[in-house]
């Protein structure tokens, strides 16, 4: 089938597509570029039978298709990011042809240039914190054991124990959340910009311990090692938390050009 749509991966100033030839894109066609206004869109021709509106609605419901496509989208963006600053596009940004892409580049040239300047020489790192040590669950056995001898004091003692349990739980949670805030504040010192994302659910992470911090840090290229060392030091200082560092990522979390919440 003839391709009749164009998938856009990212906007950059210039890119050499030669190294991208080995990288499979979302639809199996070569990754190519569309240039206008001194900017370059990294793109791929796609069939609307698979990537059109109707098809996307259907395909995005298919977890296997979504995973394959998301990984391909990321793979291309990651490869382009090795060459220089880029503004990653959200998954499923599809145009009807080069003229429309060129018009978009021209219309938003100032936004793109400003975003590229902010991102230039920087990469995104992700830090997640999990609360490994959860507060003790209510000790029901102790509660009932005390209560099985009704008489003066047993009830009052029960109430006191229960109160202590709740206080301990509350304090442990407060401490954990405070630790997460402290960790973020410390790590933010290394970053040009930060974004705090919503914690991922245990079903998604496959980790039972609740995630209490999910943050992204935009770091100058030279700061990665210092940052990793800082994460390791913070992990030592907070034995009740598990810290996870990922990166470097293309600057997905910092791609906004001003209209979408990015810095202007």
């Amino acid at each position: 089938m003839e391709p009749n749509g164009t998938w856009v991966y990212a906007i950059t100033e210039r890119v050499d597509v030669t190294p991208l030839a080995q990288i499979g894109g979302v639809g199996g066609r070569p990754v190519r570029t569309v240039a206008a206004a001194g900017l370059t869109a990294v793109a791929e021709d796609v069939d609307l039978a698979e990537f059109g509106e109707e098809a996307l609605r259907r395909n995005l419901e298919d977890l296997d298709w979504l995973e394959t496509t998301a990984r391909a989208h990321h793979r291309v963006i990651d490869a382009v990011a090795q060459q220089g600053p880029l503004v990653p596009m959200r998954l499923a940004t599809v145009y009807s042809g080069d003229a429309r892409i060129a018009a978009m580049l021209t219309q938003r040239e100032a936004d793109f240039r400003s975003a590229l300047r902010r991102i230039s020489g920087r990469m995104e790192w992700g830090v997640k914190a999990y609360a490994d040590r959860q507060p003790e669950a209510s000790d029901d056995s102790a509660v009932t054991a005390g209560a099985s001898r009704p008489g003066g004091g047993a009830g009052a003692a029960y109430l006191q124990r229960r109160r202590n349990q709740l206080t301990a739980q509350k304090n442990a949670r407060r401490e954990t959340l405070a630790s997460a805030e402290m960790i973020h504040a410390e790590l933010a010192r290394y970053a040009a910009e930060t974004r705090v994302h919503t914690p991922q659910a245990p079903q998604l992470t496959g980790i039972k311990a609740p995630m209490i911090l999910n943050a992204a840090y935009l770091l100058d290229g030279t700061r990665g090692e210092d940052f990793a060392a800082a994460v390791a030091a913070l992990a030592d200082q907070h034995p009740g938390l598990r810290l996870e560092l990922t990166g470097p990522w293309p600057p997905y979390s910092f791609a906004g050009t001003g209209e979408e919440g990015g810095l202007t």
């Binding site: 906007i11 419901e61 995973e67 998301a70 596009m89 919503t198 209490i212 994460v231 598990r242 990922t246």
Partner: protein
């Protein structure tokens, strides 16, 4: 002991630090989906697909869409109800109605028991029975 692994997302792995980690945590599909679906620049292409309209994202993968704004839009706010993740929710649960209610019930029960009018067991009043 602190464990550390150095890998890149492109290699689909991550560094992990933690006492009980026992090894690196693979940068999962969730990490990638979180970024390509929820981050990245949104520009309306010619093909209009609102990712939030996709049933998958509101049902099977709803937890992937992790930003507060988009999640709220589609009614995904599990973390706000999870007392572990929300100090506010927890304080509300611990300091507010629930505890008060529990205390009232317990005091009544204790009074009953200490007056010797009842030999029934105290009902379990652990966290599981609260907030229902």
């Amino acid at each position: 002991m602190t464990t550390a692994r150095v890998m890149q997302p492109g290699a689909e792995a991550a560094q992990a630090y933690g006492s009980s980690m026992g090894g690196g945590q693979v940068a999962n599909l969730g990490d990638i989906l979180e970024r390509v679906l929820d981050k990245g620049l949104v520009i309306a292409g010619d093909i209009q697909v609102n990712l939030l309209d996709i049933e998958l994202l509101t049902i099977k993968l709803r937890l992937v869409i992790a930003s507060l704004e988009t999640a709220r839009e589609v009614g995904i706010d599990w973390w706000e109800r999870d007392p572990w993740l929300s100090a506010k929710a927890f304080d509300r649960a611990a300091d507010g109605r629930d505890l008060e209610q529990e205390n009232v019930q317990l005091r009544e029960r204790v009074k009953e028991l200490e007056s010797g009018r009842s030999r029934r067991e105290i009902p379990r009043t652990g966290r599981k029975s609260r907030g229902t």
